[in-house]
């Protein structure tokens, strides 16, 4: 520090004040633990920046919409929300989880977009026993090898959503050869791998596989390599990569080849405005929710979300909303929320009137799904993922395989690159 003595003194005094404020703030008396039976504290754990920030925002808004609609109380418990930012970083998220449980005394944690983050927080979550409801992370093992009695997932496991698509594309749609384009990490391998496994079992053939890293700035080099002779392109992209990929597909005139995407690629949280959605015109996808589903529950959700946040909700928002519904169903069966009583109640929770339909968990805590074929088209003057067919109902994360058999198969990470060979 340089400068005249008076300035130095002022600076020192300023520093002292800052330190004092910091110390007193951290010593502030903690809120009484847990609350006397009538409050439930929910830790919302989402990234606020980075490639998944849009999805996180939709999920928080979806969850809050339901609790707001219910008057900030679920099954008679007042709801208190504690926000945490994962920064999309496993190490940061692990610290936030510890803080949420030990300092903020949350009863349950909801959230996590990235599977890497979900996997990292799995350890403290299993150890401390706090119930965790995953609302986006799709990695298969989170509810298989890494599953636990206090971990639940209201969204599809990666391969769960795509396995029904294989026989459907081969037999119903009659596309005999397919090219796979995917992001080069577990989500890409598991979704396209799930498709490839059942597609080839049905007698059709994956003839090309292309993988590109997350955050590929320019997709044109990859898109130019796609074989235009295949019957169908099956792709998994998310976040900004999805927009860039679709843009490149259009730039290089590939939109005439039929394309089916893993649903996250076309969701409202990924394609956030009309220009982006128009890029995906005619793009089909495989997913367990459509914003255009013609049910009362879905219309209520769609209208409520639009009124509250002035934008269109997709599956990301719906999953946040469903997490709140599931929590309500569990709380209805609990007298005093403890980690174990809540986890037990969640395992048996049933919701009949979710926007997507009914919601139940299998014995691994993974939700069962109805998988639709969606298509991006204009509905009532705006671009929506409209459900054009039901691919399969009540789909388990193991599809038609026995759980033990499925868990014994080689992982999709090992199988990546082998589909095009045979």
């Amino acid at each position: 520090v340089t400068g005249p003595p008076s300035q130095r003194r002022a600076l020192r005094r300023g520093l002292a004040t800052v330190v004092l404020i910091a110390v007193t703030a951290s010593c502030a008396p903690e809120e009484p633990a847990g609350g006397p039976g009538d409050t439930v504290r929910v830790g919302l754990l989402f990234p606020r920046t980075g490639p998944f920030a849009g999805i996180g925002e939709d999920q928080i808004d979806g969850f809050t919409l339901y609790t707001d609609e219910a008057g900030s109380a679920l099954a008679g418990f007042a709801v208190e929300l504690v926000h945490g930012d994962t920064a999309n970083d496993p190490a940061v998220a692990t610290e936030v989880v510890e803080r949420m449980v030990k300092r903020d005394q949350v009863d349950i944690i909801v959230g996590v977009i990235s599977s890497a983050v979900a996997s990292a927080i799995g350890h403290p979550v299993r150890e401390m026993g706090v119930p965790l409801v995953l609302t986006a992370a799709a990695a298969d093992e989170l509810t298989k090898q890494e599953g636990a009695t206090n971990i639940f997932r209201v969204t599809g496991a990666a391969s769960q959503v795509m396995m029904p698509l294989g026989p459907y594309v081969c037999e119903e749609l009659g596309y005999e050869t397919a090219a796979i384009i995917a992001l080069d990490y577990s989500l890409g391998w598991e979704t396209t791998g799930g498709f490839a496994r059942t597609y080839e079992e049905a007698g059709c053939d994956v003839t090309q596989e292309l993988y590109s890293p997350l955050n590929t700035e320019d997709w044109a080099p990859v898109v130019q390599e796609i074989d235009r002779g295949v019957d169908v392109i099956v792709q998994t992209t998310t976040g900004p990569d999805s927009v860039r990929f679709l843009q490149a597909v259009r730039d290089f005139g590939l939109q005439d080849v039929p394309m089916i995407a893993y649903g996250a690629a076309t969701d409202a949280a990924t394609l956030t405005d009309e220009t982006q959605r128009a890029l995906a015109e005619g793009l089909q996808s495989s997913l367990y929710y459509s914003e255009a589903l013609d049910t009362d529950a879905n219309k209520r959700f769609q209208e409520g979300f639009r009124a509250a946040y002035e934008r269109a909700p997709g599956v990301a928002a719906e999953s946040g909303y469903v997490a709140a519904m599931v929590l309500e169903a569990a709380l209805a069966k609990v007298d005093e929320p403890t980690f174990s009583s809540l986890a037990a109640a969640l395992a048996d929770a049933e919701v009949d009137d979710a926007p997507r339909g009914s919601v139940t968990f299998d014995e691994y805590g993974q939700v069962r799904l109805t998988v639709y074929l969606l298509e991006m088209r204009e509905v009532d003057g705006e671009w929506q993922n409209d459900a054009v067919d039901v691919i399969a109902e009540d789909v388990s994360q193991f599809w038609h395989y026995e759980p033990e058999e499925y868990l014994g198969l080689p992982s999709y990470a090992e199988l990546k690159g082998t589909w095009e060979a045979d």
Binding site: R48, T49, G54, P221, T270
Partner: protein, 287 residues
């Protein structure tokens, strides 16, 4: 095969063109500051978001682009006059300050526009696709190459053939002497810094149209343009042009031939180059 080659070369050059737009501003401000301006990515992002927002407000793409570029130029001027010039000659504090500015811009954008990725529209008139036999190539990307060449030519003329260029070179080479002969050094440096920021904003609007915009995404782009600047040689606009073309092509063929090794194929040649020619292709040897 010829068609395959042509379309990949064109595409590599178009990505390189975008990198040049960013890297030329970066290399220009490097010449002024003698340290890397890490706020450059922030100006890129700010330009992209402002361009998108203003284009929607005015209902005209070109007006939006124009005002975004001017506005970010003024932001750059304010940053230089208000903050950076106090630290002239102190390289580390300048770096810390510019990265701080980058974070502030990024957070402001997050607060005003939210974290969801956005895509500015293509310039009207450039949406179509050029088809020549096997080669299919979007006009927009071709135009990007032309723009980059025009910017390079403009830079050359400005720096070598105009009074302002001569004053800039004098101010950078020996500030005290330049002041002594009556050159308004602070104003010249401020103007050039603003020009660099405006260029970044332009890259944001055009580049955003095929890379997309999202808070945090500016660091990916900044990293690539840093690579370009380092390959080309610090402070050299010609070097930035050569470096951008090279990095664009290496990136393109790396991704096309070995998509899973994409990051390796771009950074390995850079590491090799630096091992043998540490001052870059066109950079002056260490001062």
């Amino acid at each position: 095969v010829v068609g395959w080659l042509i379309s990949h070369v064109l595409n590599g050059l178009s990505f390189g063109a975008l990198l040049f737009l960013l890297a030329s501003g970066l290399t220009l401000t490097f010449g002024l500051l003698r340290s890397v301006n890490l706020a450059h990515g922030g100006f890129y992002l700010l330009g992209g978001y402002l361009g998108l927002d203003l284009a929607q407000r005015f209902g005209s793409y070109w007006l939006g682009l124009l005002f975004a570029v001017i506005a970010v130029g003024f932001v750059g001027l304010a940053v230089e006059r208000g903050l950076l010039h106090r630290l002239r000659g102190q390289e580390l504090p300048q770096i810390v300050l510019t990265i701080g500015v980058a974070f502030v811009i990024s957070d402001q954008i997050l607060a005003h526009y939210g974290g969801r990725p956005r895509t500015p529209p293509r310039p009207p008139g450039l949406e179509g696709v050029l088809t020549m036999g096997e080669v299919i190539f979007p006009w927009f990307r071709l135009a990007l190459i032309a723009v980059a060449l025009a910017v390079w030519a403009g830079f050359w003329l400005l720096l070598q053939r105009t009074r302002l260029g001569a004053m800039t070179r004098a101010a950078v080479d020996d500030g005290e002497m330049a002041r002594g002969v009556g050159i308004p050094v602070p104003r010249v440096l401020g103007a050039m810094f603003a020009l660099g920021a405006a260029l970044a904003a332009f890259a944001g609007v055009w580049g955003g149209a095929f890379l997309g915009l999202a808070p945090g995404g500016e660091f990916n782009v900044l990293l690539l343009s840093l690579v370009v600047v380092v390959v080309g040689g610090l402070g050299s606009v010609n070097g930035a042009l050569v470096g951008a073309g090279l990095v664009g092509l290496v990136n393109e063929f790396g991704r096309a031939l070995f998509p899973e090794l994409a990051l390796f194929t771009i950074y390995a040649p850079v590491a090799l180059l630096l091992a043998f020619r540490a001052h870059g292709l066109c950079g002056a040897a260490a001062r």
